[in-house]
Assembly symmetry: C2
Homo-oligomer: 125 residues x 2
């Protein structure tokens, strides 16, 4: 695993939440798990742009941060289910707030983001 060389700041609430949510796919993972998509393969289908590898890595981090639990069933073929911990559940309203803001300002956001990318055409599949 990668060993950080620059230690993070943990001074305020924003630093702290950043530390557990900062990761390209983490918020989406939490959201989809919240919605009931609990198995790795389901999550991978829900987030096809992420490689299987990163999802595993980020799920493990979420688990280490106690936001999700990983339940392994002793069956074949293997079956694994992730679910939110009570702690993780407290994050749902916050994530919802993020998503709502994005939805409410969708049009404008799309415009400014595309303008900055200097693209006018086809994006994200």
């Amino acid at each position: 695993m990668y060993e950080r060389k620059i230690l993070p700041n943990l001074n305020c609430g924003l630093d702290l939440i950043g530390e557990v949510l900062y990761g390209k796919w983490k918020i989406r993972l939490l959201w989809f798990i919240h919605q009931g998509h609990q198995r790795p393969s389901e999550l991978q289908r829900k987030i096809p742009d992420a490689s299987r590898r990163v999802l595993n890595i980020q799920l493990k981090e979420l688990e280490e941060h106690e936001l999700v639990v990983r339940k392994v069933y002793a069956v074949v073929p293997p079956k694994v289910e992730y679910s939110l911990t009570d702690f993780g559940k407290t994050l749902i309203p916050v994530i919802a707030a993020l998503g709502n803001w994005g939805d409410e300002h969708e049009e404008r956001l799309r415009t400014v983001i595309l303008k900055r990318l200097g693209t006018s055409g086809e994006l994200g599949e």
Copy 2:
């Protein structure tokens, strides 16, 4: 400027907000500007762990995303002031929600984060 090779997804609200907030210091910049610290040098003092360079870059991105405006005063020594746009202001409650969650769970977060870092000692001054 760096040219993205992988285009971002802009499918849902979470993608969209991620696109404008994803950057190590952006949320803090918005927050401090909201609190009235509008000049670059002030912001740099508030966020001493970020290099001057990145702050400039991220401020410019925030500006391009229309979350802040940059006002330049034609004086010497140069004076610049950033402030939130109306659009940027709509983001404040969301950022507050993030910060509050972090504050509310400070102790637990510190614990799980430090455990994962495998550190037990001194961190971020």
